[in-house]
């Protein structure tokens, strides 16, 4: 399975980094970009590496991440 897009809702994300931590393929990484609450939200490092395991969705405390399948 391949991901079409990994959407990170900047306004919901609190920048906790749990998604980056639980991702088994290092698809996500921390960024220096901040949202309106001055929190660092993550960014997609390598979309192709995503295996659509959706652990990021399962562990995200804030419903801020969504993996769209191809």
């Amino acid at each position: 399975m391949k991901a079409l897009e990994i959407k990170i809702d900047k306004n919901l994300c609190k920048g906790c980094g749990i998604c980056v931590d639980v991702c088994p393929k290092n698809t996500l990484e921390s960024s220096n970009e901040v949202n309106e609450y001055a929190l660092f939200y993550p960014r997609v490092r390598d979309l192709d590496s995503c295996i659509v395991c959706r652990l990021c969705e399962l562990y995200c405390p804030d419903f801020a991440i969504e993996v769209k399948e191809k």
Binding site: K14, I18, D62, E66
Partner: protein, 261 residues
Amino acid sequence: MITANYIKNEYIRRMPSAFCPGCGDGQILNAIARAIDHLKLPRNEIAAVSGIGCSAWIPSPYLRVDSLHTTHGRPIAFATGLKVANPKLKVLVVSGDGDCTGIGGNHLLHAARSNVGITVIMVNNGVYAMTGGQVAPTTEHEYKTVTTPYGNPAFALNVSEVVAAAGASYVARWTTWHMNQLIRSIEKGLTKKGFSFIEVISQCPTYEGRILNMDHIQMLHWFRDKFKTDEKGVFRIGEFVDIEKPELTDELQKIIEKVRK
């Protein structure tokens, strides 16, 4: 495929939540919603009751079901009344460790004893977080908190063991690292006839983190590495009780039938 977005749209009243970044409460909310979805329970058959504390906010206001946000320590007693009044409802209590075992400890024991068919999810972060990091009944010996600045002179309560001894039908303990196991346990709890109790060890990045000198990611790793279902772990997790026994509202109904015959 169940996506977080679907869960959010279907079961979550609103976001963003008031929880601190990295708080396990959001994960537990996610787990509860997924369990309800797996069971295909209609939302109008679920009532969520909570007391006071950060974790009390998991169902109220975020879970999109009838929710009763009550006074400190009392949610289990409120839930008992709700369940007895309408046994068709799946009554879910979400309570913190202070709420559930400190001020509300007596209610917990007696709900387990009477085997009333409610599901209690106790979020255990070992500290009173909402009020600013004071010692809790679940704080380990010698840990420093704002009210035990020289170390906790008392010892932590093993809540699941106590609830098991009190007579609950189902008792399990997981951590926020064990999301899938937690979801399965909540499903089991919600379908269990009698009193079900699920303890969730959760990370409090703000206060517990300060005590343990860890951030929330480190705490999750700690859960992963040290909390095991067998002797390998420093802390024991897993399912401790899973039995069938007569449930309170059924017994009350039997009394009515006996008396009215």
